[in-house]
Symmetry: C2
Subunit: 215 residues, 2 copies
Amino acid sequence: MAEFKLYGFGESGNSYKVALMLNLCGLEWEPIFVDFFNGETRSAAYRSDVNEMGEAPVLEHKGVKLSQSGVILDYLASLTGKFSGNNADERREILRWMFFDNHKFTSYFASYRFAKAFGPSAPDPAVMAWLKGRIDAAYGIVDKHLAASQFIVGSKPTIADFSLCGYLFYPVEESGYDTAARFTNIAAWLQRVRALPGWAPPYEMLPGAQIAPKW
Amino acid sequence: MAEFKLYGFGESGNSYKVALMLNLCGLEWEPIFVDFFNGETRSAAYRSDVNEMGEAPVLEHKGVKLSQSGVILDYLASLTGKFSGNNADERREILRWMFFDNHKFTSYFASYRFAKAFGPSAPDPAVMAWLKGRIDAAYGIVDKHLAASQFIVGSKPTIADFSLCGYLFYPVEESGYDTAARFTNIAAWLQRVRALPGWAPPYEMLPGAQIAPKW
């Protein structure tokens, strides 16, 4: 039995962030498919037994369940000493970018892609325009940051990179938002992440519901 | 000269989170007004000299500038040993709720309130309805959590409480969303936070632009 169990699903970029870290650290793990699209994360059982926040991913290790990708990445970095930054200043910078990611970089894009690809009805144009404005602003900030830096913090990859890149390795047609074409520094950085030994794209690492984009 | 300088403004609940922590820790600090409503955070000078993410708050301490309220709260908790949780498990729980706050609890409500009270034009009903659905879901999760707990993590206040409560001490008329009336466990918890020695409401702690709600 693998040491780590990862509750998640292929379409979840937040689950992919953790899967990527587990792979890049060379840890033994197995995925546990969460049937998000049929309501599993909203069920009473999931909320009482797996995660009261009703989200994936959840990492189970030594009988303890951890949630929030940022917490899990931080846990794995502490445990392995890998991708964790070189000192307290770098670790604070890593945390800073992970908060920015959760608040503005991943969140609006994840909502945009979800509405475009997987939502129960056609996305509302006003909501999509609002989200797109937020994505453009957040991506512009990261693109500018990466003009002067190989990775998000310092000169080596850290969990901040894995947090921010999570949703950017999905097929462009899912979101219709071509990040790499619009932001060249982000595109170059994604190539550097892609070159790390152990990297694989989301649907090769985690089972998906294999829902085709609808709109 | 005060030991800590806090770049922020009264209308910013994220700035208030830090101001509250500084007060509750009994630290000497002074506010530096950020003229958000006239574009200061979007200016090249602010982005190069204060915060490349273009946000408030920023805490200056010993010549170093820290941004992201979650990072600043964590920094102050480590520095003072106050409101920091009792052990590694509690600190992980604190971080978990702070990520949830940044992603889903503060963020959608802050956008909703901003559009309602301070936006440059009347808010779009479709965007507001979308945000309200997200707020309802996040608030429901926290309300349920607080049915069984006096504070967010454990039996004592921590920085997780200060992160989550930041936007809930503003006048209801700013947002038109009456959290306390809708979520009784959140209302009771806010009373417990309000009772902490040193607590004060946002506009008493930080200078605001004093913009009246428009819509």
